[in-house]
Symmetry: C2
Amino acid sequence: MSCADEYTPQLRARGYRMTPQRLAILHTLHHSGGHLSPTEVYEKALTQLPSLTETTVYRTLEFLAENGLAHPAHMGSGHLVYEIAHHEHHHLKCRVCGAELEVNHTLLKSLYRQLELASGYRLTDSHLTFFGLCPTCQKGEN
Amino acid sequence: MSCADEYTPQLRARGYRMTPQRLAILHTLHHSGGHLSPTEVYEKALTQLPSLTETTVYRTLEFLAENGLAHPAHMGSGHLVYEIAHHEHHHLKCRVCGAELEVNHTLLKSLYRQLELASGYRLTDSHLTFFGLCPTCQKGEN
DNA sequence: TCAGTTATTGTAAAAAGTTGCAATAAGGAA
DNA sequence: TTCCTTATTGCAACTTTTTACAATAACTGA
């Protein structure tokens, strides 16, 4: 199943349009395992669609995130990375060596329920990155 | 107790120095209830120390966060805000109207323990912002 | 108090991200 | 197919954030 076939209906259903730019960006996210920074997305997608603009990349990534086709993740220092929305998960990153772990969303489920109960809010999204020290770096630490 | 008296020993203990720039920034964070963006910190601190530079503000905020004197919080779209480290808490923000709620850190304690057990990491910091719909906006939503 | 060490700052330039607006083109209707 | 509406893009200017490196000044020890 092509990216076009997979994602076009999802956009149409919400009243949005599929464009070569969005397709190139979706294709890039789809075919590169992990998370990419906006610049990385731009550079990769450029080989596919040389007319692509960085502005469009930023806007499209935010657009895809708002519509659930991509997940944004905070990677510290206020930087965002994106990845295709295969499944809900979060990240746990080592402050020292940068090693990363996936945190399954099910771990957060109970926290979500508590937050919703306590606040009255309905939680929508929260691709979060937790920070800490990985086992290896803990040994070399004070 | 002045900011200088309060924070200088904490920096010294870690081998760092107190400077007029750090003091001005700490003072600014200390005396303005909520969280501030780097630009807001710069503008406010400037009245106190006209020679202050934006570069220094960025560097100092990150420095203070790393050393536990300030808390960074992800406010969506990759933007960071900072506040003085009075107590551990997180934010819950409405996607529609922007209303914000404080989430006490105790709610996250059990999640932290689970994450540490499952990963072997030692969690250090995670001033997080969760996103959702507040009760009011839920009514006006589909 | 003074000199030495080096953490910290400022400068300037680059990189990253945002915004307004006119031009373009995707998709629905005729 | 062709026209029309308007979502979407590109451009250009702007704001925000980062980086390299030389100059400065905070603390330590004599």
